[in-house]
Amino acid sequence: MPRPGRCQGRAVGDVGRFALYAAVVVACYGLAVTILGIRWTHGGFLEAGRRAVTVWALVIALACAALFTAFLTRDFSVRFVAGASESTQSTFYTIAAFWGGHDGALLLWGAILALYMVAGTYSLRAYPDLQAPAVATLFVIAAFFSLLLATASNPFTPLVPPPPDGQGLNPLLRNPWMAAHPPTLYLGFVGMSVPFALVVGAMITGRLDDTWIVLARRWVIVAWMFLTLGLLFGAKWSYVVLGWGGYWAWDPVENAAFMPWLTATAWMHSIQIQERRGMLVTWNVALLLITFGLTIFGTFLVRSGVLSSIHAFAQSPIGYFFLAFLAVLLIGSFALLVWRWDMLKSRGAVESVVSRETAFLANNLLFLAAAVVVFLGTIFPALTEAFRGVKINVGPPYFNLVMIPIAIGILLLMGIGPLLPWRRATPEQLSRNFMWPGAVAVLLAVLLAVAGVREPGALLVFALSAFVLATIGLELVRGTGVRMRRGESLPLAVARLIGRNRRRYGGYTVHFGILVMLVGIAGSSAFDTQAAAWLRPGERFQVGRYTVQFDGLSAAEQPGIDITNATLRVWAGRRPLGVYTPQRLFYRTQEQPMHHVAIRSSPREDLYLILSEWNPDGRAQIRVLIHPLVSWLWAGGLIIALGVVLAVLPESWRRLAPAAWSARPQTTPPLSVEGTPGAS
């Protein structure tokens, strides 16, 4: 008698396959009718294209529902379900197994694209001439993913006969951070589709004023936030799961997500020059095209296996489809850029080397240089294999050597840029604006040096971080002062200053978050301590200010997992910190051992305890790592997210504007200047 799950599962598999075939048909139909609607100026066809967006989203949702059902009913007649789950797997990881392999991950990508397509199409309803080509562009992406899902990467491929149990989710992925990492990262990757579609639409229609920038900005910022969080979740997973004590290894797949982050960051700064000075128009278009291209390139790196990575579990033969798709997208979109070259002329020019636009330009060059460095370092093994027949990895020494100076340059510009005025700055302004932040930086550097900090890189990062923090503080204090001179109380002045300059202070909050992260990275990289010792039960050893006593091993069992616990008692000086239990897990189905480290986290430092190995006589090797300030890295991510939320909140410019400007006067009215001393 067949198991109920399997009986239901056949139907579920059929539903999933039907939905994916339907997705191909609907995406191709939507693309065709939208293109025909544009070409024939046929409103009915364009309406059919918009309806196809909804229907495509629904069939993708149906496929997702079918796959979730297959997982939750343990339907091992679906090959993907049998490969990524097993009967003893917890419900949480059975749900997370949805994106635990490339077929499901691709369906997740499709689901997120569906959400963005619906939201993007709706948000462009007031811009029909931009909406139609943007929808067509999104359908090109949707058609590609639908085709992959229905053919080479179909998560509903049947498995005949179904095995009695599945192989289970890769143990490496059984961690809450890994459950959150792919969806967050994809929200960032796929989120770049809408601004990409917008800029392509703007180039097709020739509507290349600043409208597309205004529309694309929020999409890019939100996608950037998800990309940031996705990177951090991945780093956290690496930190707590891989048992090596680090969080970033310049792995090709980490780099794949980092590259679009770098170019998107550059774009968010360079659009300010276009909005304010009418400069960098072509550059902003190209930068957005490159950013989207890098998201597809990143997927190629993850899926192709062309480079050795800790993400080897994600490899599949579909990687080269992405490379072909990337080539088509880049050739097509850059051809449009060349076609519209004459319409993308800058309206302004740099007037002085010492100005905010110059700082932003330098910032862009550094971010682009960083992206190029990461790109070259990432593909170097593939290049050497292609030309010399042997893979040569450049590894962390190359990245650290080149990226640290670039990061320090960016950090310096984070402090300088906001205090520089547009167009030009005078020496008096420079000395007035930079005297206090400079003094704070020097003072901190001296204090740290006196306190015994001798690591020059970390010292420089801490001092520059203090400089940037002081510039942000100065901005806040001076801005508050301006409002208080108008008679506002301190809390009201701060609230209104931030509330009425959300974009500016949202940006400063993001900068603050980046500072906190950089301090965490510098502290944990420069001052980490580690030691290992073989201990008998009752023996203890000293690492830094900690004393670790090994109390013995014990065995435990969970469904499908053999667990060895090491009981450790820890003191900081004479103060007992409690008992910690690092574990070694053995997943029976996969025959795979795993570390489960014990971490005591505090703002000052993380104590990281690992059970490395043990002998039958009861001795165990315990590794202890002390990572100063590592929790600042995760806190920085949270602050960045808050800053992004503040920066994308809608601002009512009518409320800010003098009444005369928000009406429609026939003559130029005088400005009643808000919050400005001495203004008439």
Binding site: V33, F45, T211, P421, N433, V482, W653, L671, E674
Partner: protein, 90 residues
């Protein structure tokens, strides 16, 4: 049974998707130029607002402030004039 459900759903979706193509309707009018003008107005107002704050916090000299403010006011006036002469916002 399931095949029948698939067929029915596909039929309904096809009708929903194909129906508009049989209606020869005019394409939606191009984006209301006022929307772009309002965006330009908002951008100019933001720039003015930022300029005021930059001046208030001592980032630029009075001379530069006056020059930049005059340029932004002229830009804003041009936008507002275009808005006044354009079609009403629907």
């Amino acid at each position: 049974m399931i095949e029948a459900v698939f067929f029915l759903v596909a039929l309904l979706a096809a009708v929903y998707l194909l129906a508009p193509t049989f209606r020869r309707t005019a394409p939606p009018p191009p984006s209301d130029p006022h929307i772009s003008l309002e965006a330009a107005q908002a951008s100019a107002l933001r720039s003015l607002h930022d300029l005021e704050l930059d001046w208030g916090t001592g980032k630029l000299s009075d001379e530069d402030y006056r020059a930049q403010r005059a340029a932004l006011e002229a830009e804003l006036a041009a936008v507002v004039r275009k808005m006044s002469g354009g079609p009403p916002i629907s």
